[in-house]
Symmetry: C2
């Protein structure tokens, strides 16, 4: 029941970046559960990782190896290798060493990623057994297969791609993501991989990834839980022939940065659209804040409120619940008489009370849509933040209550 | 489907405190929707109120009038008088003035409380019309009727009562509460009234109420939403003849304070037991914190996690979800290898990983109970906090999605 998420768009190959898929039978025999990504020598790599203190063994290892010229990304589904202690770390290291041996690189040049059930040891031998087939399978055209290969309980694969002209040459940016809850039912969770053939220095790439993640993957919430395994990688192979971007200045950087943000936003929104039990795709925009944090506090108070989320599921324009969430967001000295609330373009609350001209059927009409914007005008300043979420449906409870039964 | 909540216990009358009930027909004809409480002259009164910036008109008025020797408490259900602007404030004032006129007190000696639908103007004339009947009905024996009179979508009335001996004389503490979600579906929400015939100075009473609320009403969460109308009042009539408590010292104060806390905890837990869609009553205890805040951060991360709450509903001992919630609670420098997690007395996680001796059927046995304790040992210090919550069931979604249909 994904909301407004169609088949995969065209995913342009990225020169210098290949993907291979194989079956290791980690959870189910025959399932494509191993994806290897290969970046050409000389690529720069940026990464952002979960802030959860209980981060998984592969996350610790990927963070550690990020600075040692990564060449290979080894992803498995079916097992998160989280909460597995030292044996889990050893299993992750063993799979990296095996891939490094086959590919003739240093084991520190392999970054591991795992997603699946928490608390079960990664069956390293199964993973290792599938590596030759995945390497044989490497191809620049395998983005759609990889998008399916990293799925767990996602209902649809998620990808986005852009091409743009920089200094008269074509540059490609292609990415895939997976996830359907911030923590999946016993599964963990959001992964994103974006590759480009632009040439970008590591420091610029890392800063761009962090900035873009803050506007995309860090602005989506399904249930407010942060997983133990979240990772997003941005890889620049440099094979387009366009001259290197070494600082965040100039038209080329701006155009490139916009395209990267656009790809990441599409990938992040795809996760919300495929959110567990989602029947609505909801944009929460908070304008007129005195600073960024208070915009986010108000936005998340709305996006996390079970009462607003159930009202969205019921297509009920229950503005009292929205006001109450704004009021409890902890904004210091909030003047409620300055607050306006809109559902799309319908003003439901003006100056902290029901808008005089508002009629229930106007709100009901917007709430019946599959895509809805809730807009809050705080009237305190010039800051603005936007985030995306879903409703809370019977299906969400069913998925998360019945996952292990 | 309240969890472990039986019929009302004996609610001892409190000398100097009377309660009257009447029907104003605010939302439904014939429903007992007005409760008046009367405290004898010379009573001291303490109050704590919602921190929601969008607090309702009666909350603003009750806060303002708290310092002017309150004598009457006027409570209506069926309408929250929240989000109603100046007309709402005028309606609240008018009802207070009418009661003051009938009772021959100053209008500032009446404190109003409203609970029900947000955003509709309080029908003041209906309330005023019911005041004479409620005053005629005043009796010290009306606690059970008042407990029913303040209910909205509560499935059961909630009350608690204690008697203790202070300096050789009997002192009574009796209270009632209502609420089933921190915000009810379009309803607002938690109210508590506790009266005693002890004689207590206002400053001691206020400090005791704040401290007790922090350990009871402020330690329960059903859906993490804070309402626009939450209020809790503690009234001391002084009619027991026991000498006045003027400071928080000595055995009498200790015994009295313990009894007040015990009444308030029972009332607060009754709200959780009657939580919307609740099938489980869950105690979350966090021990070994370096300070109070980090214990609460971890506790609320668990109590608010939809993934843990759906696992509780499913009786699924999903310890990965508990670890992930602890990990994202934002405790600085958390050493995950020191963390133990217990379900009742079953250790499911030791030193941050699955406990070696743990067997799934042990966890499943605890999770199948109606009452469950989740205990976290942080291993960082001596602080400890306890809070109470429910599971997240299909029924919660149904109640909150279908309320207005």
């Amino acid at each position: 029941m994904a909301v407004g998420l169609g088949p995969l768009p065209t995913l342009h190959p990225v020169p210098g970046f290949r993907l291979g898929i194989a079956s290791a039978g980690i959870k189910r025999a025959g399932r494509k559960d191993i994806v290897i990504m290969e970046a050409a020598e000389g690529s720069t790599v940026a990464g952002v990782f979960t802030t959860n203190a209980f981060c998984a063994a592969p996350v610790l290892l990927a963070k550690q190896n990020l600075s040692t010229s990564p060449r290979y990304f080894l992803i498995n589904t079916g097992n998160a290798n989280a909460g597995t202690g030292k044996p889990g770390m050893q299993a992750a290291i063993r799979t990296c060493e095996a891939l490094a041996g086959l590919a003739n690189v240093a084991s520190e040049q392999v970054l591991p990623f795992s997603t699946g059930v928490i608390g079960e040891l990664l069956p390293a031998e199964k993973v290792i057994g599938a590596l030759p087939a995945a390497l044989d399978n490497l191809s620049a055209d395998n983005w759609p297969q990889a998008a399916e290969g990293i799925m767990t309980t996602d209902t649809l694969p998620k990808g986005a791609s852009r091409q743009l002209r920089l200094s008269g040459q074509t540059v490609t940016i292609t990415g895939i993501s997976k996830g359907a809850g911030m923590i999946r039912p016993n599964m963990a969770t959001m992964l994103g991989y974006i590759a480009t053939d632009a040439k970008v220095s590591q420091s610029v790439l890392q800063a761009l990834l962090r900035e873009s993640a803050d506007l995309s993957f860090n602005r989506i919430t399904i249930d407010g839980d942060t997983s133990t395994n979240d990772c997003c990688m941005l890889i620049a192979t440099g094979q387009s022939g366009v001259s290197e971007i070494t600082d965040a200045q100039g038209d080329d950087y701006q155009m490139f940065a916009e395209a990267v943000k656009s790809v990441m936003l599409e990938l992040a929104q795809a996760i919300v659209r495929d959110g567990e039990g989602a029947t609505k795709f909801v944009t929460v925009q908070v304008n007129g804040g005195a600073n960024r944090d208070e915009c986010l506090d108000v936005g998340y108070a709305i996006a996390h409120s079970p009462l607003i989320k159930t009202a969205l599921f019921a297509s009920d324009p229950n503005w009292g619940r929205i006001l109450a969430a704004v009021g409890r967001a902890g904004v210091p000295g909030l003047d409620v008489e300055k607050i306006d609330v809109f559902l799309d373009d319908v003003c439901i609350t003006r100056n902290g009370g029901r808008a005089e001209e508002y009629r229930e059927e106007q709100g009901a009409r917007v709430m019946a849509q599959a895509e809805i914007m809730i807009r809050i005008e705080l009237g305190r300043g010039d800051y603005s933040e936007t985030l995306w979420t879903t409703d809370l449906s019977h299906e969400y409870v069913r998925i998360n209550a019945e996952y292990r039964t």
